[in-house]
Symmetry: C2
Subunit: 137 residues, 2 copies
Amino acid sequence: MNKETFLRNFMEEVWNKKNFEEVERYVHEEYKIHLDNADPWEGKILSLPEFKERLKFSFGSFPDIHFEITSAIHDDNQVAITWIMTGTNLGKIGDFPPTNRKIKTNGMTIYHFYNNKIAGHSQVFDRLTIMKQLGFV
Amino acid sequence: MNKETFLRNFMEEVWNKKNFEEVERYVHEEYKIHLDNADPWEGKILSLPEFKERLKFSFGSFPDIHFEITSAIHDDNQVAITWIMTGTNLGKIGDFPPTNRKIKTNGMTIYHFYNNKIAGHSQVFDRLTIMKQLGFV
């Protein structure tokens, strides 16, 4: 399977369908978050249990979080995607209580592969749009 | 020349060295901005003179604007880069007077090629970081 298809399946099964049992199929046992502004795990290497903790953290704030992939580019070891993230803020974000507001923003991620599994990412998204949509700015 | 090298040279010559005479060498005569949150030209197709106007607009706000490419991935028709943008706000941003503050933020861009020239981009960067650094948030 080419890496772009693999990555698209990962996004659908793990992030969109929130199927924790699929994590091992896609994610390397050492997953590094190279760049992800304001992500509590930025710069860290996550084990599979820590990877699932991070998923729970995101799903806790936005239980219906969804990524639509709008374009992709890949080489032998990396897949870059642009995406539209949507979700409803039904859980706490850090210490902030849920706003029940909907978010929709653009972002891009480069996923890095190692031994045919996803072993890390660099990610940027427009936090200002989200902060405005949640009423924080 | 492969497209990644071509793109790196474009970033250096046009954006970092601000050499307007090099624009024609790199940029297609129809350049589309597919995605670029809050960019006044988002969704538009720019001619070469309009492309230069957009450069002047950016250089006016941040005369020392500089992009350091931190990673890249390419296929036959696209180059994706992650970058660190730095600059000093010495000119107006829209109607806001210069703050004289320095900015530094992460972003990603996918550049699209057509007929061996750069014919457009999709871009995301963390505007919240910049708004904080400028004192607007």
